[in-house]
């Protein structure tokens, strides 16, 4: 086989993988990075890396898990790298950059409390949850993607589920507190007493 034909075969294989899996890879990356533009970049990067690293795929039947493994590494590497230097020379920290939980919830089609809770759990746990729950990876695929044993992957997934449950409970409690506070505010206004003008609050501010 000539180099040219080998390239052609390789390219075709990657294109087939793209056709089969680009949507789920993009979905996973998007839910990890929560930014459509960056997710598209990372997805593209995943397939370029896959193209270059075909030799590392021993069994094409496992191509899906292999792709997820590449995507997972791209996401974690880039997230780590972006934290190293935030691409903000001089004093250029971007402010207001983080999308709100409500915005994320809308884009990710999650309830807002669940979106916030997901954002609170550790990255690896979030990855395990998304891969297993949303992207339907099997236990073996999850283990291969995360680069750990099957037992370790199960343990990570279990911890992730418990972390998410606790975070969600916390989010819901906070949301209820906020709603109660707003209700109290509206009730006070309805009674004609504007709490914003109360002595306590005036003193509390300035």
């Amino acid at each position: 086989m000539t180099a040219a034909s080998e390239d052609a075969r390789d390219r075709t294989f990657i294109e087939e993988l793209f056709a089969l899996h680009h949507a789920e890879i993009y979905a996973y990356v998007f839910r990890m990075v929560r930014d459509a533009d960056i997710a598209a970049d990372f997805t593209q990067d995943t397939f370029i890396k896959a193209y270059k690293a075909q030799d590392s795929l021993e069994d094409r039947a496992k191509a899906r898990a292999w792709l997820y493994q590449i995507a997972h590494r791209v996401v974690l590497d880039e997230m780590r790298r972006r934290r190293i230097v935030r691409f903000l020379p001089w004093t250029g920290e971007s402010h207001g950059a983080a999308p709100s939980a409500e915005h994320l919830a809308m884009e990710m089609r999650l309830s807002a409390p669940l979106a916030r809770a997901l954002a609170r759990i550790p990255e690896r746990q979030r990855a395990a949850l998304l891969l297993a729950e949303v992207n339907d990876l099997t236990g073996m695929e999850l283990a291969e993607t995360l680069g750990v044993s099957h037992v370790a992957a199960r343990a990570l997934l279990t911890r992730a589920r418990e972390s998410l449950r606790q975070a969600l409970a916390d989010e819901k409690r906070q949301e209820k507190e906020r709603e109660d506070a707003l209700d109290a505010l509206y009730a006070a206004k309805a009674r004609g007493a504007d709490p914003a003008r109360s002595d306590d609050d005036a003193g509390a501010r300035r």
């Binding site: 390239d7 370029i48 935030r86 020379p89 004093t91 969600l168 506070a181 709490p195």
Partner: protein, 638 residues
């Protein structure tokens, strides 16, 4: 857990912990019959465990039922184009803009190579740009030269994007095996030249070892750098052949309760006095002097001459803008909050020679906006308590004098104002704010940037002393006036500019205000993430505004300031203005910026001056009253 079916006696009952573990396992696994039976028994007898089991299953159902997000329509086209390049490119060359963006290499490039890369860059940018964005005309970027390239291997030691260019010398940071080196290129980028290259090797001027990633900023005179992790801030001198600083072992010297007790920051009296720029009009002299931040004794001014690396704050994380040195490079200001998020952010100051930084605000809702001469601009959110941001959010900005410990409130609601170095003008944001629940911080939600003359603003002496119970006030009063700067969290209008002044966010709507919105985006009223940089003369302002949905990529506009008229003229977008990353700055008449493909450019600012705006050559008056007041607001900025 055993899979054997056995009779269930008392000894065989599950503990709550075991039951919850089995409940988790049962979500996507078929349990052994014995385990399933024991779990069923336990859940029947334990309502709390049953509730938790129900929570697990509800979460599972919600996650499992999620719809797939829409895939960008151009994903295949761009991936295919990248594959085309991958087939023809030599091994090791980064091919995607992500990689290039992420590893902004400032490798040494000869002028010839740089020129060639300009062509490559233009071609690749056209391919990779989002639909609808204008391609860059290759022949219209006069005065632009590539000074850096992101074409580096992803896995090699990759010098990161430039931290600063000072006097034509570039400074950047590189990392290998947990050792971060701040490097300087000393033999290139001569001042005033449009084109130059940056050395990828450079000279190591600072060396830090850290188990966690660091960020850094360089003082304007490049004499020192501030570096920080997610829990520590340190300052180190930039010198030739530096010793490696083990950041994790570096701890602030204990100096009492400076952080816990409100104190007046002591910047040594030797600090240069205020410049002669026309700073904002103060309130009438009859106003009482603003109380200092605290009546307690101030920490002792530095007696020692600390010249080596010093950890100035530990257990805190930087919030908002990056730390910023004063123009003389002697004082560092930053906003930070405790690592455990037990309170919101406050502004801290450190001066050369001091052993640690000191808080200058104490209401846990303050963020650094920047320097104005030897004073510090601070923005404060109200309704931004650490307890969850209850109440009606608003915002206000202050001018704080760290030497005197006095503060003055700017009479107009504005967020993170950026002052031009001469003190005549500022650019500020106004709009609606919202609480990001994941970070617990308030931030801009939707608004616009406005250009204004300081002469149209007034200041009122005030105190930045702590409130009595800053974290417990359920309904804090908005700082801003009733007409501006306050909007309820749930009723924030999507288009703040269209909201009624009485309940809308800050965009100036009427002739009450003289500011005009800067045309920085195709979506007026939707600016939520921005950076403003001024050149030293105050004649140009570079404004970066994030693209919708992105925190790292945005549009760069450069505004010429007609200082005689007190006006920012219409924008003159750079040919490269689209898809610029957040790093930009000025050096010796050149604007430096980096595009998403990792290329860094120097743009001769003189080439950007619109024909409609004459560049004044005469000395600008220092009298604010001579700066004319604009009479109307034009949201389009025209």
């Amino acid at each position: 857990m055993s899979g054997e079916m056995e009779p269930r006696g008392l000894w065989d009952q599950l503990t709550h912990e075991q039951a919850r573990a089995l409940a988790l396992e049962s979500i996507d696994t078929r349990l052994e019959p014995a385990d399933a039976a024991r779990l069923g028994d336990h859940l029947d007898a334990c309502p709390e465990c049953a509730a938790i089991d129900a929570e697990y299953r509800a979460i599972h159902q919600e996650l499992h039922g999620l719809a797939m997000p829409a895939v960008p329509r151009d994903l295949w086209a761009r991936t295919s184009a990248a594959l085309d390049k991958a087939e023809s490119a030599p091994a090791g060359l980064s091919l995607t803009r992500v990689q290039e963006f992420a590893s902004k290499n400032v490798a040494l490039l000869s002028t010839a190579v740089a020129a060639a890369l300009v062509v490559v860059l233009v071609a690749s940018t056209v391919i990779l740009q989002s639909p609808g964005s204008a391609p860059r005309p290759a022949g219209t970027n006069g005065g632009v030269a590539v000074v850096g390239s992101g074409a580096s291997s992803h896995d090699s030691e990759s010098p990161q994007g430039p931290l600063a260019v000072v006097g034509g010398t570039s400074y950047w940071i590189s990392e290998a095996a947990g050792v971060y080196e701040i490097k300087g290129g000393s033999d290139q980028c001569a001042a005033g030249q449009a084109g130059c290259s940056i050395s990828g090797s450079g000279q190591t001027l600072g060396s830090v070892k850290s188990a966690t990633p660091i960020s850094a900023v360089i003082a304007p005179d490049a004499s020192r750098a501030a570096v920080w992790t997610d829990s520590k801030i340190a300052v180190l001198p930039l010198v030739a052949k530096p010793a490696m600083v083990p950041l994790d072992l570096l701890t602030p010297r204990p100096t009492g309760a400076a952080l816990a007790t409100p104190t007046t920051t002591q910047v040594p009296a030797g600090t240069p006095a205020s410049d002669q720029s026309p700073l904002p009009t103060s309130a009438p002299a009859t106003s009482p002097a603003a109380p200092t931040a605290a009546p307690t004794a101030a920490p002792t001014a530095p007696a020692s001459t600390i010249s080596g690396p010093v950890a100035i704050l530990s257990g805190y994380e930087i919030v908002g803008l990056d730390p910023e040195f004063s123009a003389d490079g002697l004082t560092l200001a930053f906003s930070a909050r405790p690592k455990d998020h037990s309170t919101g952010p406050d502004v801290f100051v450190w001066h050369v020679g001091q052993e640690q930084a000191y808080a200058v605000t104490f209401r846990h809702a303050d963020q650094l906006a920047g320097w104005l001469g030897d004073r510090i601009l601070i923005s404060e959110f109200s309704g931004a308590s650490a307890s969850g941001g209850r109440g009606t959010p608003g915002y206000a900005s202050y001018l704080f004098d760290p030497r005197a410990g006095t503060a003055e409130q700017i009479d107009r609601p504005m967020l993170l104002p950026s002052a031009d170095p001469t003190g005549h003008f500022l650019v500020y944001w106004a709009g609606t704010v919202e609480l990001d629940h994941s970070s617990g911080l308030w931030h801009a939600a939707a608004g616009d940037l406005y250009f204004e003359s300081w002469s149209n603003l007034s200041l009122t002496p005030t105190s930045l002393a702590p409130v009595a119970t800053p974290t417990d006030s359920p309904t804090p009063t908005p700082i801003a006036t009733a007409a501006h700067g306050a909007v309820g969290p749930s009723e924030a209008p999507s288009d703040a500019a269209s909201a009624a002044p009485t309940d809308a966010g800050g965009p100036p709507q009427t002739s009450d205000y003289t500011a005009r919105a800067l045309s920085t985006t195709d979506q007026p009223g939707q600016v939520r993430d921005w950076i403003v940089r001024w050149d030293a003369s105050g004649r140009h302002a570079a404004v970066w505004v994030a693209e919708a949905g992105s925190a790292a990529v945005g549009r760069l506009s450069v505004f010429s300031i007609d200082r005689d008229a007190g006006r920012a003229d219409s924008d003159q977008p750079l040919p490269e203005s689209e898809r610029v990353t957040t790093g930009l700055g000025f050096d010796d008449g050149h604007l430096m910026y980096t595009t998403v493909d990792g290329k860094t450019y120097l743009q001769d600012i003189a080439a950007l001056t619109p024909a409609t705006v004459a560049t004044p050559t005469e000395t600008i008056s220092d009298q604010p009253s001579e700066v004319p007041t604009l009479q109307s607001t034009d949201p389009s900025g025209g």
